[in-house]
Symmetry: C2
Subunit: 288 residues, 2 copies
């Protein structure tokens, strides 16, 4: 058992070799060089470049029975709206020793859709490593992207979840993550607040300021809106993939923004002070 | 004339030796060591520490006729709600060779209040170097804080403004700033968008997320909310000192936030895409 904890996967298949998939590959190559990393994607040229860059040992543009024969871990690193479909496709070709996980920022919608196929549900455990960047592509891959980052692992409710959860947990821990188990629903409620809402707020701030005023922005604006440069299609899929919780989070933010406005309009400066102090106290609880 | 452009002030008096005042002092010491920098504040011990740290040549806890005899430039680096009062006090003790400016983030309220005293109005030109940080105190002073940063210089409408503006402009340029001239009103309209609104949005995001969810935040949230850790009293004075324009900016943000929510509620995913793409396009116009 002690040995099992330090044993790493022998074969890992990464579906979608972008920033996240590429960084997972880089982390494996730098920490567990005995493991074979196989990239799967649509673009042979890009995959070959990722291999040449040392991220992949092999690559394929197709999901086949041969690729998925024997024990292996498959990590689907596609945009959230493509994950469940990909898991179904992978499950169709998989041996029983195959375990499938993902790296998507929403979980309920994915788990629900995966669960519409029994075989897929049996082979799948959801994951969400909370790490990323504004710039896409494996060229920005970083072997240390996951170092000390939280990864949420979510069970989907099938019988042998515990064993699968252990295996997925061990994988993320061995590339540097701190793993937390949550239900998909709880994950989506919290991430709507901690990740999806901040993206919306940064986008709203950026667009409200507008191109014509950028000259008079400082480092505060730059930090506060950096995430708004993220890929619009990826974020459309995230926000619409967690629609209900994002709407709830936006409503809370709307209510508080209104409080600021009313306090200013009504000259209630003590209220402004107390709102600002609450936020400053909360934010200073976060170590940089 | 060519010579005049490279001539620096001989004596500079900094009223309020915190992050901004301290960084101005540091910039002068590192670039124009012939200039004598005098700090003015309430706390003798802190001022003596700033002197010992090499930021100040002398210091005083009082504004006196002696301090303000002869040609010098006074820069008031106090919280925005204390600036006009301090300018009035300084003007009372000043020779005609004294020029007074400030570093406050709001301009109309300050210029209007300064203008209630004719002598103060004659000696004053408003400034706002767009640079700063979340952490206060001269201990965080940085001689390069103003390097390549924009400084807005605002005329207050008295007869000899051009000469004074030139002198203040030259000062900021010689510690590294790019200077832009604007009216106080125009400054406040734009800064409500580029600086004051982002602070409110970051504070709203932070408080909406709440302490209990900080564990599941990533680098995006960290960047987006960094400014919310800023001193609540300083920001209360800024927001309430630019009340009307901040309310207008908040209203614009509220309207756009509502657009996001309605698009999500009405399954108008193309609208979400287009809102996100607008923001991403705008943000990518900003060089990091």
């Amino acid at each position: 058992m002690g040995q099992a904890n330090t044993e790493f996967e022998n074969r890992i298949i990464i579906v979608g070799v972008g920033l996240i998939g590429g960084s997972i590959a880089a982390a494996i190559q730098s920490r567990h060089s005995g493991c074979s990393v196989i990239g799967v994607g649509r673009n042979a040229e890009r995959l070959e470049s990722a291999r040449a860059a040392g991220l992949l040992n092999e690559w394929s543009t197709e999901i086949t029975d041969e690729l998925l024969s024997g024990r292996c871990l498959v990590i689907v690193c596609l945009p959230v709206n493509l994950i469940a479909e990909s898991v179904h496709e992978i499950a169709k070709h998989s041996d029983d020793g195959v375990l499938i996980t993902d790296a998507g920022s929403v979980k309920s919608a994915i788990c629900d859709q995966v669960a519409t196929c029994d075989r897929a549900a049996r082979l799948f455990i959801g994951s969400h490593p909370i790490a990323g960047g504004e710039q896409g592509g494996f060229e920005f891959a970083d072997a240390e992207l996951f170092h000390d980052k939280v990864c949420v692992v979510t069970e989907c409710g099938t019988s042998d979840d515990a064993t699968k959860t252990d295996r997925v947990t061990r994988f993320w821990q061995m590339i540097g993550c701190r793993v937390i188990e949550m239900t998909p629903t709880e994950h989506d409620r919290v991430l709507a607040l901690t990740s999806h809402l901040p993206h919306v707020m940064a986008a709203v701030t950026t667009a409200t300021v507008g191109q014509e005023n950028l000259l008079l922005t400082g480092s505060g604006f730059r930090d506060a809106t950096r995430i708004a440069a993220g890929d619009a299609s990826l974020w459309r899929a995230i926000l619409t993939g967690n629609r209900g919780e994002v709407v709830t989070a936006i409503k809370s933010a709307e209510a508080m923004l209104r409080e600021y406005r009313l306090a200013l309009e009504q000259n209630d400066d003590d209220c402004i002070q107390s709102l600002l102090a609450d936020a400053a106290n909360c934010r200073s609880g976060l170590v940089e």
